[in-house]
Symmetry: C2
Subunit: 296 residues, 2 copies
């Protein structure tokens, strides 16, 4: 799942014009990405970068791609439905402190909102994906135990998500945690496809992603990534840097996975995003070059 | 094995004063690092940054640390012995083209030099460690097969190295290659302790390092890393970025490994090296901060 248009951009100080967002999205689609988190239907005063959600949604190329909008409450769901999104991604934060800062309710309140949203989204014909944020650690509370995440997963699972995501929102996780959380998810949400969201804040994101892919075996699994590695959460200190889509594709392709995505088509995005945002972006493949045999 | 004073610095354009190298080394030692590649005894015209090898060696704090010097030929060995090094690290490049560019002989010539050096170094009481460079891919020849590396390992092993290193000199490798090469080494150099050298050029270095550590089980294993993630090879295009010592320690510590190194003591090095070298260095932990529970 490509997240650059939403998680990638939301924390950037420089406003990105809607036309540039749509040009980014066009490149993502033409390179073969088929699930894209296009925008966020949250309070535009809190995330002004994504205040153009409806305008972006209205101009998305429909058909080949499943378009995803982040929502945190029913007001956001109403907007996502009206905008014709294919999926809603609902965030439940695993710790109370971070949950309150991110969305004004504690974890239980977030889970309750997810249940209301899931029911109404399903009735409206949208796929639902619930993301457990701070599942690998919290910037305010520190360690988050596997048992805590297990309880959150169990409470989320009763609303029957089409997909469950486990997110290392602040980039502290390691592969051992991926294995522990995968086991927790298998126990508490059996049969629900997993998605993983990693930041490379401390250089562990790619190891985590490959671990998650390898663990999946024949089961469906999705990995979030962001072209150029842009991204971060405005309410999580130092949470910079999603894993970069092009670097992830290099790793997966060279590890024997078929991704169906044209890495070469994505490489120009790093420089383009760097220009738009006014700073270098962290993805490294475009600087190093694709090595022979790495094309997935 | 800490490589910042040698592999880290050798490719840097700005000359680093000897006193600053020794200050770097002091911080490495006081943080608990116990094997340090201090310098290189190669032609100073080819690597002017390390032309002060004898001066650095003369002022190393002796006793607690095994001091390593890189050598490529017998002239270099003579200098390393005279300088009182504890170990010599000898590089054999797995591909002929890269070997000729790096040290003026093909792979067979490099292996022959290694045999001569190993015999004399052992006679002089020095530990020997042979590093097979470009074992994961070559900037000139492209893919390097496991069979090719297996042959190089076999030819190196007959000289009875105290340690065998497999180096991803240009940062193209993935964990599947680590597993394949570990199996090749176990077959061709049974009982010889392994060391691994990874660059993070394409964001795969940390995944490779953790894979190598996990594979070792109860066997001894060493990992090369460089404070701040500085480094690169002057004769390999785009080979920037060893894995950063502090980021590696974070990953290992949080994965349950005891390293005996004080990560907090290393964090100031990133900014200090950035100042010395005139550019940001790639290690990320110092920017993100050590997360609770990550102290090894």
């Amino acid at each position: 799942m490509e997240v650059s248009p939403r998680d990638g951009l939301q924390n950037e100080a420089v406003p990105v014009p809607t036309a540039d967002k749509l040009a980014l999205i066009d490149t993502l689609v033409s390179s073969g990405l088929r699930r894209i988190e296009a925008t966020s239907f949250v309070n535009p005063r809190r995330v002004p970068q994504l205040a153009d959600a409806e305008e972006v949604a209205a101009r998305l190329p429909r058909g080949r791609v499943s378009w995803i909008g982040l929502v945190l409450n029913e007001r956001g769901l109403d907007r996502a439905i009206a905008a014709g999104m294919d999926e809603v991604n609902v965030v439940v934060v695993a710790t109370d402190t971070f949950s309150r800062r991110n969305q004004g309710v504690d974890t239980a309140g977030g889970i309750a909102a997810w249940h209301r949203i899931a029911e109404r989204a399903r009735a409206a014909g949208l796929r639902t994906t619930v993301s457990v944020a701070a599942a690998f650690g919290c910037p305010f509370e520190g360690e988050v135990t596997t048992d805590r995440v297990r309880e959150v997963i169990a409470s989320c699972a009763t609303a029957r998500p089409d997909e469950l995501a486990l997110a290392d929102t602040i980039g502290v996780g390691v592969p051992a945690q991926v294995r522990a959380l995968a086991a927790a998810a298998a126990a508490e949400a059996p049969g629900v496809p997993l998605r993983w969201h990693f930041h490379n804040t401390r250089n562990t994101g790619y190891a985590n992603a490959l671990t998650a892919a390898d663990l999946a075996g024949d089961h469906p699994v999705a990995l979030d990534s962001s072209a150029g590695g842009i991204g971060g959460c405005p309410f999580a200190p130092n949470a910079t840097g999603n894993i970069a889509t092009e670097d992830l594709l290099y790793l997966l392709g060279r590890s024997g996975y078929e991704t169906g995505v044209d890495v070469a088509g994505l490489l120009p995005l790093g420089a383009r995003l760097g220009g738009l945002l006014g700073h270098e972006v962290p993805g490294q493949l475009r600087r190093a070059g694709v090595f022979p045999g790495a094309q997935p």
